[in-house]
């Protein structure tokens, strides 16, 4: 049994330690907001926070996560009024939407380290997240909008 905390709740899972966090979340715990896209850290759709940092959950071995705190988009603080999620809604970023939870988790991480990102900062941090539908212009707009909103406070 491996014990981990997801969105503030402790879970025990009976899987091999090599299993990536992504598959524990999806198939063992039924938390499906983290998406499987590539399995090799090429697309970013599985991005979650581990101890506050954005991480590709397809690359995080569950055996290494004992005692660590995992947060998916479902467990964000102030989720209903989160400025990044609000900006994503206001600017209607998604098309198919499959990559967007990963995009948002990555953008939150960007804004925590760089509250007023330039276009170059956004290029640097967000280019690891693929969007096959091509919502990039809206992702950029939403990040700038969220940064502006967060600066007001």
């Amino acid at each position: 049994m491996i014990e981990l905390t997801v969105n503030g709740t402790k879970h025990q899972v009976d899987v091999v330690p090599e299993m990536p966090l992504l598959w524990v979340l999806r198939d063992e715990l039924g938390i499906t907001s983290a998406k499987y896209g590539c399995g090799i850290a090429q697309c970013g759709a599985c991005t979650v926070q581990i101890n506050g940092k954005a991480v590709r959950s397809c690359q995080a071995r569950i055996g290494d996560l004992a005692g660590k705190s995992v947060v998916t988009i479902d467990g964000l603080k102030n989720r209903d009024k989160h400025p990044v999620l609000q900006a994503w809604i206001e600017h209607q970023v998604p098309q198919c939407g499959y990559c967007q939870t990963g995009q948002i988790m990555q953008a939150i991480s960007l804004l925590e380290s760089t509250p007023k990102p330039t276009d170059e900062d956004i290029d640097e941090v967000m280019s690891g997240n693929l969007c096959r539908c091509g919502t990039y212009p809206r992702i950029r707009t939403a990040i700038h909008a969220a940064a502006a909103k967060m600066a007001e406070k």
Binding site: D27, C38, L85, V93, R132, G134, Y136
Partner: protein
Amino acid sequence: MGRVERLSRRSFLIGSAAIAGGIAFGSYNGVAQAAESAGSNPLTAGLGPNSVTFNPWVEISPDKITLIAQHADIGQGVGSAQVILIAEEMDLDPGQFEIRFAGPSPAYFNTGFKEEFAPFLAADQSAAAEEARAATLEYLRKTGLQMTGGSSSMPDTYEKLRVAGAVARETLKAAAAKRSGVAVADIRTQSGDVILPDGTKIPYTQLAAEAAAVPPVLDVKPRDPSTWRMVGKPMMRLDIKSKVMGELKFGIDQKIDGMLYASVKLNPAKGQPLKSYDASRALKMPGVKKVVEIKNGVAVIATNSWYAMQAVAAIDCKWAPPAYPAEQAGHWKVLENSFKPKFLGKEWRKVGDVDAALKTGKLVQAEYRAPYVAHQPLEPLNGIGIVTDKGMEIWVGHQSPQFVQHVAATAIGLKPEQVIFHNQWTGGSFGHRLEYENVRVLAEIANQMKGTPIKLVFSREEDFIQDIPRQIAIARHRGSIDKGKIVAADLKLASTAPLNGLLERSGTPTKDPDAQLAAGHWNVYYDIPNFRATTYEARGLSPCTTWRSVGASTAGFFTESFIDEMIHAAGLDPMKARIDMCAVPTYRKLLETLAQMSDWKGPLGNGKGRGVAFVESFGTPVAEVVEVTATDKGIRIDKVWVAVDVGKVVDPVNFENQVQGGVIWGLGHAINCQITYAKGGAQQTNYHHHEAMRLYQCPVIEVRGLENDPKVRGVGEPPVPPAAPALANAIFAATGKRIREMPFNKFIDFV
């Protein structure tokens, strides 16, 4: 070619000429459609007590209102836009109804295909063309073909869903009139209520039983656009919030109690069987329940998708060899040798005397190439299936519900009607979810696990390897320039056949030439006095299928690159020459708008260059300008301007998003994507091999939607084809280098 000429009908139209004879275009209307569909309304069967359904798109029970999105939602937003068309007429607000995807039924036949299947140029609005489209519509009605594709969602449903909503509204009013004794004329509707003159509000849900007892009011017209609350105005797509919050369940997120997980390894030589396998290692791996042999591979059943993927990767398989050349060079060789009469698809269009005109003036000739490309939506192929003695139930996101039934049933010896299909929200498609790799193997696996629900998830690698790619094509174009004008164009291309391949795998093979190979090839609207467009269909190559914008994704690149080369040879300005040559007034207006938007003034200098391209596909004319800079680190795309004429913009916000996405799709894949074969299998197995555009490369994209076209047109695909040639033409303007083959990064570096 100043006028748009007529062409003979295709064979099926001759077959249905008897029906066609009496039908003038315009006799079809939404009223007839709503009335006719009511007789075979698939919602009737599942209706609960005290409930009503007026047509295949509206269902009201005492508890809730359900609106049906007829098409599959593949990210293009029909799960919102289509139900909004109904809600607009029903006076419903967002949040007052549930959304469900259509099940398989001929009631949902795609009327929009009448535009694409009738063999006339989109810009041809002549009586003969309209008569052929009307005849095609009757053919479609007879076949009941239900499919999402060809950018047809809005052309199909723009009229009929508003009529469906109006029928529901007027019938609810009739029921309220009967109950209250008030005249219908004095009754109105608002926000899900019928409102009587004294202000009394009766919720629609409370009228369901009574509405079922009154004859449906079919004599209705959709409201005047000036009265619209939602359609045509910026609005919040209904699926945005749940997608942002991570709450929306895609097909891959669904769960059924007691289900087990499966993953597959299939013969990389597409369509060929398994010869033998050794699963001894896999069977000892954690979580593994069973190994199942299927026709073209093996599956592992496990307690978790990851266990299944790990174990199936550990199975050693011996495969039957491919039915196409094992190595990529062999594919090109077959294609090079396909420009011969015995491989003729069709001479689609002939104007003037091309052979004579090619002997006058200056000859221009060039060869262009486009590789196989994969679809690879971010949600991998998946599905949940359960097989019992009664039949199969399947949960999968797919664009062709009836063909899912056919393919699943055929795989395991059932009748199509024994397959119950539940469509799902999908994480993209781009044509991938018109194919059946997941459907067929899921049926085979579930059939060997009777009674247990099986959730199948393809690994990304397997999804790449089994992706039936975009057509591969070569064009050999010739033209001549005389006195500063293009006097001849002889366009020839050889390609694999994407649409015919799909139709064959769908169980509806055709011997007609593949009309998608003519897209972007014959529908050239420049006034070129001698013009010919011919296709050749290569045989014995990889199966191919429809990839976002299909034939026009390759032919549009060839045609508009070649037109650009001829314009250059004639010493003309690429934008001005296109405007001057454009023979269709609304299309000329589109080009003029684009020139204005981009402030086109000719060459830029200083390592900067602009290219323009104009392609009509699926009836939608799109023109784009791409601006690039040649930097030390390679070509940088600075900005794109796009003008699109769809006749009517139904959802302006989503419209812009779709257009930008189409441009990004076209640019990204043109720059760096191809599928090549080695030892019979695709060499590219994940996104680092086949990346397309990432955010850092994405330019600013300015979009303008025009509404001059006489018809409502789709926008999911048409922004794709002009992107690649506009980029290639821009690179030429910036560097003097003509790139005639995709992907471009084989020939030039990009930032």
